[in-house]
């Protein structure tokens, strides 16, 4: 999923140096969004499946299994919301550090003006 180091962003790539720009954060944001969308869609599907008009001992077991899975999905949804802020703060911090390092290295390296 994550591109190799130095290939993120839109800035010019310098071999041996990390690329500049905020790169990990948008990717993390998109991935967290996909996690939430999947969990939300799954919850809707599970609720529809639980509505089947079926009355028997097996049906009771089926509903118990679905209730467990729905509880798991609820727990995962909650975990996803808990992770959202800290993960984005972490990737933003990493992106900022990477940008700082890239800027510092760029300033320290003299580039030959001719191709």
């Amino acid at each position: 999923m994550a591109p190799p180091a130095g290939q993120h962003g839109t800035g010019q790539h310098h071999p041996g140096l990390p690329a500049d720009g905020a790169r990990t954060t948008p990717l993390a944001q998109a991935a967290l969004g996909a996690v939430g969308d999947g969990l939300s869609g799954a919850r809707t599907g599970l609720a529809a499946a639980a509505d089947a008009d079926w009355v028997s001992v097996a049906a009771d077991r089926y509903r118990a299994v679905l209730a467990d899975v729905l509880a798991d999905v609820t727990r995962l949804t909650s975990a996803r919301w808990s992770a959202h802020g800290p993960v984005l703060r972490h990737t933003s911090a990493a992106d900022a550090t990477r940008d700082d390092v890239a800027a510092a290295r760029r300033a320290a390296v003299w580039e030959f003006p001719f191709p």
Binding site: A28, V35, G38, R43, Y62, V87, H90
Partner: protein, 530 residues
Amino acid sequence: MSDQDAPLAGVTVIGGAGGTSAHLDDLDAAAAALERAADLLDASAHAAHDVAELVEEAAAWSPATAPLARVLTDPLVDPWRGARAAAASVRATAAALRTAADLYRRADLDVAGRLRNGGILAGSVLGEAGPVAWLAVGALAAVGAVGVAIHVTSVRALQYTPGVGGLVLRGLGAGPLAGASGPVGWVSRLYGGPGLVPSGLGPPTVGTVETLVPGMSSFLLAAGPGRSHLLGRDPVPLAAASIGNGTRVATLLLGTPTSGLLMTRAIQAASSRPPERAPQGMGDVLDDVHARYPDPHSPGAGGLPGSVGVQRLDHSDGSASWVVTIPGTEEWSPLAGQNPLDLQTDLDVVAGRPDDATELVTRAMIAAGVPPDEPVLLAGHSLGGIVAMEMAQDRAFQERFSVAAVLTAGSPVGAGESADLPPGVQTLHLEHEQDYVHGLDGRPNGDRPRSTTVRADLGRAPWVSDPTSAGSPVQAHAASGYAETARAIEGSDHPSIQAFEAAVGRVLGTSGHAPVVSSSTSTYVGVRVP
């Protein structure tokens, strides 16, 4: 499944919107929803894995914020409690649900199929064995029946003796044992209870008739000259075709052979109600079907022989709809006569051959000017019900007319029932437990989401006006009795009956549809001509 919820005492509803088949379709739909949910959870797990990778990639640049992000991401990618594990669990549940639906379907087919095939095989073997074997088997059956009767009455007589045996037998017939299900209850009812004859004995049920008919048909076919090849074939239509050939030959030799059908419009409309009053429900429609029968007790009274009715209903919104009423067999002579609603047509319809009743109804609808886009309710009793179902499932008829619903009463429609009904068409089949006619095709009505069978036990039904109908298969088959049953179930809250009434309401202008402001009925009479 909850399709056996009785809307009234003595009434069983099979199939339709609330039937097992509809419920099994619900299970399939639920399984599909679970599979989609599993796919979404898998996608979610994949995205969570990406998040974890990004957290690790960023950890090298921001080690201080990494532990918290890592701890909070872990539950999403946990192999045992994460999204992937939930997806696996949901997928397994979907597979189990599909298996359960298949098992329900197979259980129904297995029991019915084995009984039917066993009867066909036994009838075929006996038929091929020849007259000596028939006599031997008949004699053995008679001796066996007499032996069983002597044994049962002797044992039951012991309950009137003062000994221990009498005490045990008196105990068998009383209390919870007699009401128990399975072998214990069966033995209790056979040997216990008052009198020398078990109380449950009586005429065979329609279920027994339905089971015996394929065997009897295969016997009939196998008893004829040459070898019969019945493997994988339904012997009932083949037997009907054979008997039909016989009646044709008999008509040729002893009667007046006919060459075609003449149809004419009658001047006087036959109706049990004023012609300007439109039918309000299933009961009224079946009253109209009943009114088409000639009165056997007073010639000239009742409906015209060989007639069908086509009623046009004009609604308040300017639309129109049609009700076609088709009576059953009116002539039982084995020789085909002038009336197209006779035994010859019965045999042709069951055999799947072109028949005069279908021809008459089609021509009547064309003559009445029924357009292809206006909804039609086909209603028939006995033979008329088979004709109505055959027409509704015919592709050419479907292109010409727009059938909204089919109502049959006492009609053997189990064999002719297929999946060829156009979408949106609802059918309802009324059957009395004490009526044998609807079992003569040898197949119970299927459980389909748009096909409802309402079976009424006249011995327990509170609405029956003629108490003798429960003890007589002939009375139980009467169209007037079916009209009473139809009226009794009108307005039921059973989902299958409600779905049918909604379809009928479109034609009759009830159930919230634009009401009928005027109606006119035309009667068409069919006559076979030499």
